[in-house]
Amino acid sequence: MSGSQRIIIQGFILLVSIIFVTKLFSIQVKNVDYKQAAANNIIQKVIEYPYRGLIKDRNGELLVYNSPIYDLMVVPREVSVRDTSKFCALFDLTIEEFNEKIQEAKEYSYVKPSVFIKQIPNEEFAKIQDLLVDYRGFNVVPRIKRAYEHPILANAFGYIGEINKSRLERDTSEYYLQGDYVGISGLEASYEKHLRGKRGEKLKMVNVRGIEKGSFQDGIFDTDAIAGEDLVSTIDTELQIYAEKLMEGKVGSVIALEPATGEILSIASAPTYDPELMTGRMFGENFTKLQQDSLVPLFNRPIMADVYPPGSIFKLFQTLVALQEGVVSLNTYYSCNQNLIGCHGHGPGETLIGAIKNSCNPYFYNVFRSIINQNDDPNTYIDARIGLERWREYLLDFGMGRRLGIDIPNEKRGVIPSLSLYDNIYGENRWKFSNVYSLSIGQGELGVSPLQMANLVSILANRGYYYPPHIIKSIGENGQPLPKYQQKIETGVDAPHFDVVIEAMAKVIESGTGQYRAKLKGIEVCGKTGTVENPHGEDHSVFIAFAPRDKPKIAVSVYVENAGQGARAAAAISGLMIEKYIKRDSAELRMEDYVLAGEFIY
């Protein structure tokens, strides 16, 4: 018995060996394909980089496209440069730099290509293209860089760059390879998966001299690069260019939304930069320069400047909460009692509409107190807690104190006060309305980003709901925006209450603080000024508006730092944006010179 087992085991081993030897015979001796490869040909894997998706504006006009650049690769073993100084002159290198680069490449590998010079611009490449034949061991790989039709939207677009090591390690999709370009910020980062496309790879037969002999096995192993998907944005290019022009020499943000859809018509962060600076070979140098700029142009103010208190525009929100809570009515009258809180001399007292129109601070002191203290508890400290928490829910419903989910990264939440914040400052149950009253006029422990302000206007224009603001309305030529941008979000405040506020906003423009610079011929604008106290210098100028009053087409929020009253720079810019968008070429743009002359950088 044991003898037969031994024979079976040995037979099995022998069988395996014979199968191996036979299979090897067929691969090594019989198969001609492999032998051909053996005829001193090398198979080279060539990566074909995909075309990155384009970005267009809402009218299909091109905004971001690709332009060719070239990487010069070197294979140290094959290098033969007879006249090094001539070669160096061609690429503007010193002999030392040349030697250093060759040495670096050798340290990586003698036989594998490594990058010798990165990102050679097209014009330069045209000059050297024909001369390169003389230098063995060097070859060129086409890459792309981003190019822009207009020098706008730098912070919204973001930029692309070579993937870095830590990101490569974190990549769980196992798609990226060293040397790939990847969206680093802005839309380029948020829509990276759609924009990037897919690398192609080709096997090419190359003889020992590095000359291509066609594809291996008729290309059955090759894959084509697949171009990325194009994106259609919500941006109105003309309006965007205009917004950035108006913000020249200023610090702040301009956002224009289409209220019915949440589509962003324009989003300007000032100061800004030319997006072209962040492409190609000068990327590193320019990036450092921009990073060191004291006015932080890389700071995307519309979504990141979330420490701005909203100022008087907040009174609109307070009115809506008070109406919904039933603690104020159209006829509620309060005298303008400046012992409570300072004001700016408009009359002895107001009812609701007048109070909004004239931005009466004591009036809203009273309104906010009636929101907070609704006698839910006899203990005034506990009553304040209950009131503040109730009020805070409204803030969240209106998109403040949380991210709206715009499709650019790094959106900030803003600041809204919580119970624990006051508990920490004053101690638990040791604070009441009189400690928090500055919230009533949009000051105090509040930070609202310009995007959140613009969204507030959208809610007003829509009379109670909004769609999350977004910049991309279609992935692919005739696609859809991401699903989260198709969801209508209700605020829970009844539509009739909005009519009251809108009536007041119309009055602001007709005969109130907005009458001088935001009033437009033939368009009924609804707006509200805000002047934000700034302990560090000149006040900030804020204005929000939408128009026309019926079926609003555009909602605007403008924040200009250190520009004084809201009725000035911000109101004027808002008016110009609305007029430009609605009237296009027939716009009068009366305030343009006034705005352009204003420089508020100190």
């Binding site: 087992q5 085991i9 090897l24 090594q28």
Partner: protein
């Protein structure tokens, strides 16, 4: 009792010579696989794998000396202890191991890395031999089959948990040992049938497979039509097979993650993803195929030097032989391995103690599985599971393990007459 001086005359020289030839060839090929024309790095340089391998070879020589000095009875007396310690290390590595490409298989000590799963093969061989040392440990008893199976399966499961299914697969080789010690032949056959069905399920469309199995069933039924009992058994077997086909199909398409599915599917059809998983196999075949009949000559290979072939000094070292030494070189290598395996089996069969015989068969089985899977994958006959070619591939842990495995057998064999002498 014989003295230590007689050892030199008693050791099995044939096995040692084949071992030395394989190690030397391996070392030269490791150099060839990392050699870059023009870089002028010596084969001894510690900056490349061949230099480091020489270090491993030197330490392996020291290990051999120790094995020869240690009393031969020592191994059976500490078999269970070694096994226990290594199982402990396998558990520890799951928690304290360094994660390398997704698996926790390595302990890192400074710049040195140790892979306990390599050493466990040796521990398992010892434990299994120790178990069968007891003459009453016969495999016609279910309890004994169970114990023997547990000795094998426990480390295998711990290694699957790392997860390193390739190394765990090697533990399947012990079925050869069990077969030699009296396990009914039907069990290995069933194993092979199951593997065949598994492969066919992946290879053929569902309908074709069912029709095929149906035809075979019909033929079997015609043959056994006279006995109701056989008809019942045949139908039951085929029901099991249908179940297995469904199970495998469900497992591959619904439970495995896409990249794991690919790893299996690409085995049988490299073209589904020629530049991903299939790239390895395709490139490996191009390299081997380009060697032709006589090869391109030492250090003259091109395919294996351009990173076309991944892991070219470890798992895919066979490509270098194929490319630089052609079919003749491959033939010599396969011949050497076959000769070594036959020699080990011959040594095992001449042992007087059952411990030594079981241990010898374990060594043969482990080496055979590595040989089978490693060369099988490089020429596209087997899935790409990263396990080394014994004595040949770069790496200290694997060289040490195979050296220890082989030389303990040689040491025990040198004293085989002493079992009687006592």
């Amino acid at each position: 009792m014989r003295g230590q001086d007689s050892i030199g005359r008693k050791v099995d020289l044939t096995a040692i010579l084949i071992y030395a030839a394989l190690v030397l060839m391996g070392w030269l090929n490791i150099y060839a696989s990392v050699y870059e024309e023009g870089a002028d790095i010596s084969i001894f340089s510690l900056s490349i794998n061949s230099g480091k391998q020489l270090l491993w070879i030197a330490t392996a020589a020291v290990i051999i000396v120790f094995i020869m000095i240690i009393e031969f009875q020592f191994y059976s007396s500490v078999a269970y202890i070694i096994y226990g310690i290594l199982i402990g290390l396998l558990i520890l590595v799951l928690f304290f191991g360094k994660e390398v490409s997704g698996a926790r298989s390595w302990f890192e000590l400074g710049s040195f890395r140790l892979q306990p799963s390599e050493f466990v093969k040796f521990g398992t061989a010892l434990a299994l031999a120790r178990f069968f040392q007891d003459p009453s440990a016969k495999l016609d008893n279910l309890k004994n089959v169970f114990i023997a199976a547990m000795i094998i399966i426990v480390p295998a499961i711990l290694i699957v948990l790392q997860p390193d299914p390739g190394t765990a697969l090697v533990f399947g080789s012990f079925i050869i040992v069990l077969y030699r010690e009296g396990l009914p032949g039907i069990i290995p056959v069933l194993g092979i049938v199951f593997v065949a069905i598994f492969v066919l399920t992946l290879l053929l469309p569902f309908q074709t497979l069912f029709i095929g199995i149906g035809v075979v069933l019909a033929i079997v039924l015609i043959i056994v039509r006279r006995s109701w009992r056989n008809i019942a058994i045949s139908i039951a077997c085929f029901a099991l097979i249908f179940g297995a086909v469904f199970g495998v199909d469900y497992f591959v398409n619904n439970i495995l993650k896409p990249h794991q599915q690919n790893r299996i599917k690409v085995l049988f059809n490299p073209n589904i993803d020629p530049l991903g998983v299939g790239w390895n196999v395709t490139q490996s075949k191009i390299a081997i195929g380009s060697g032709g009949f006589g090869g391109k000559g030492f250090l003259e290979g091109t395919q294996t030097k351009f990173d076309f072939v991944p892991e070219q000094s470890t798992d895919f070292i066979f490509c270098t032989i194929g490319e630089e030494h052609g079919w003749i070189g491959s033939l010599v290598l396969i011949g050497l391995f076959t000769a070594l395996l036959f020699r080990i089996i011959a040594i095992s069969e001449r042992q007087k103690s059952r411990f030594a015989r079981v241990y010898g068969y374990s060594v043969a089985s482990i080496l055979f599985f590595h040989f089978l899977i490693n060369i099988g994958m490089t020429i596209g006959l087997f899935p790409v599971v990263g396990i080394p070619l014994p004595f040949f591939s770069y790496g200290g842990s694997s060289l040490w393990t195979f050296t220890v495995l082989l030389f303990i057998l040689i040491k025990i064999d040198a004293h085989r007459m002493q079992v009687f002498a006592r």
